[in-house]
């Protein structure tokens, strides 16, 4: 039996441990109810929904890298497509787990299939998520096929795998964007939330997803591709870095474009929302802009783009876009839609929190959402899943060209 490398084994064990801890916390949440989270009636989505949105964006990168490699026949990208595709598969499964963690009654989920409401954006989100899992699976199988070439030839396949990959890219490429567009409809269609109700949100989601998805793919390549292959094919990584940098620029521009109509309208509601964005959550807003901005500079002016530099840039984008996904929720829920103008001031109708704690308000206009320890541990499960899948893939498959 082949001896496993210490790094791969360690990653597998860490991933499994994270999954076990997350799963245990999730079971605890299912038994105790979602009171163990810091979510309440006025603030209904938090870390789990933010993570779901984040993993959806991360899942975009691998399939984009795969499609770009074959649609434009970029040879220097092809050594990375195995890792990229598996990264996308792991991320989209993580997104599925994150959204399940957010369900109060996950055992009723079958009704999404039995009695679906086809008008619901969430229903279509589940559809696109399922289709995207299939897309990722096909991409993974196609990229791994050369390893099982003999088996394929025995079954009488005529086309080369390269042609299959290219043809499949015509489906995979738009699907990567469709995933983000449809997921963002869950927010963009809600006209009662000023922070979400924008036609720009789906477009911006594509830019954010391209940036963070490709950054994640680059990071995976740094971690998992052998050094000589990485250096030999650095043109491919450089291309991904430049696309990520351009996407970051588009994201930052669109983020400020979103602010302009808010500031321009000058209504009390929009002034309140702007106060939340720039004052209450100001540090987070600037982090979601500045971290990717710094990464963009690193990606663009990084010269030879050494492993360290792209790793730092990748981490900055991941951190920035995760904060951005949380910022989609924080000001939105604390800008309660039922407001009335009273005596020249905007008055917000309080909302019952849904739980009772002696000495604390039952009706609130603002909820200071900070995830509880249980939420953080539950939130580790999808991250652990990604670590576990990538480590298992590294052990089971030959992810580097020429690897034995």
């Amino acid at each position: 039996m082949k001896k496993l490398s210490a790094k791969k084994t360690a990653a597998l064990v860490i991933g499994a441990a994270m999954c076990a801890a997350g799963l245990a916390a999730w079971i605890y949440q299912l038994v105790q109810g979602m009171q163990v989270t810091n979510l309440r009636n006025s603030f209904t989505w938090g870390l789990y929904m933010g993570s779901f949105e984040f993993f959806i964006a991360m899942a975009t990168g691998g399939i984009l890298a795969f499609s770009i490699a074959y649609l434009w026949n970029i040879e220097t990208l092809k050594p990375f497509v195995k890792i990229a595709s598996i990264g996308s598969l792991a991320s989209v499964v993580a997104a599925g787990v994150a959204i399940f963690e957010d369900l109060g009654e996950p055992f009723h989920a079958l009704y999404m299939i039995i009695t679906p409401n086809v008008g619901s954006p969430l229903f279509w989100d589940v559809v696109i998520l399922t289709l995207y899992v299939i897309v990722c699976l096909v991409a993974v199988v196609l990229t791994l096929l050369p390893d099982t070439k003999k088996h394929v030839h025995d079954r009488g396949y005529r086309m080369t795998n390269e042609e299959n990959c290219r043809r499949f890219s015509f489906i995979a490429f738009p699907m990567a964007f469709l995933l983000n567009i449809i997921t963002s409809f869950m927010f963009a269609t809600q006209n009662t939330r000023e922070w979400w109700h924008s036609a720009l949100i789906p477009v911006n989601a594509c830019a954010e997803a391209t940036a963070v998805g490709l950054s994640f793919t680059i990071l995976l390549c740094v971690l998992m591709v052998r050094h000589e292959i990485f250096v030999e094919n650095s043109d491919g990584i450089r291309l991904l870095s430049r696309i990520a940098a351009a996407s970051i620029a588009a994201y930052i521009v669109m983020s400020f474009i979103e602010i302009v109509p808010l500031a321009w309208s000058g209504t009390q509601e929009s002034r309140h929302l702007l106060h939340l964005i720039f004052h209450t959550y100001g540090p987070l807003f600037w982090l979601e802009i500045l971290l990717p901005l710094l990464a963009m500079i690193l990606f663009l002016v990084g010269g030879g783009l050494g492993k360290e530099l792209v790793s730092v840039a990748g981490i900055l984008v991941i951190a920035g876009i995760f904060i951005q996904r949380m910022m989609l929720l924080l000001p939105a829920f604390n800008s309660i839609p039922l407001t009335l103008p009273v005596a020249g001031k905007l008055w917000t109708f309080p909302i019952a929190v849904g739980t009772f704690t002696e000495g604390e308000d039952v009706f609130v206009r603002f909820w200071n959402y900070v995830p509880t320890a249980v939420e953080w541990i539950v939130g580790i499960l999808p991250v652990g899943l990604i670590v576990f899948v990538m480590a298992a893939a590294a052990i089971l498959f030959r992810l580097n060209p020429g690897e034995e």
Partner: protein, 248 residues
Amino acid sequence: MRYCMVIDLDKCIGCQTCAVICKMHHAQPQGTWWNRVFTQGSDYHQSAVGTKDGFKIEYLPVSCQMCDNAPCERVCPTGATYKNEEGMILVDYDRCIGCRTCMAACPYGVRQFNWKDPKKAKEEAGYAYGYPFDVTEKGKRLVYTQDRPAGVVEKCTFCVECMNADGTYDALPACVRACPGKARYFGDLDDPNSEVSRLVSSKQVFRLKEEYGTEPKVYYISSTKSKNVEGPWTEQSWENKTPNTIIP
């Protein structure tokens, strides 16, 4: 048939009886309120709000607005939230997956999530209350049960438990019956002879946040009485007042 509610704000005395009777009748656990009443513009209930013309008290009861174009219904992925033949927006507790998209979509903040098992919560409080029988629509959609499961969303049902199979009501909704000021009216908006239809067509009525296009079926008769209890003030005396001055 389209059931609707009309609330006369001139008659509302802000006593919260409607909120409490609703809570008791529908076995709502601690922290959950299907119906709530607040003093408009004030941080404290029953405290006056200062305006340039003096102090003013005006109450606003808000429960599910039973929208004709309900965003909660449109976003529900399983069809757990639905509109019945009588135009009421209801939640089928057996189908609700607790995704809370409906809560994010509702502009009125009336939807309540069961963050913990309501039965356990009431047991911990040491008492049980509420209408004890399950109510199903068309024999299969569970729209009321005394102890809703943890992890599902609930809200005002226009007291669906009082409705007969043919859509008629034996007893009016609890909040309508309990209101000491008789501020609430309930009936069929499609019936031109109903009291609610006459009120809607003859009185100065408004609906909450109509700009969202939700087409609510809860109408408010605008307050016409002057509730000023002090004033008018001079420009100088106004400047010395805080907006939410409390009347002892």
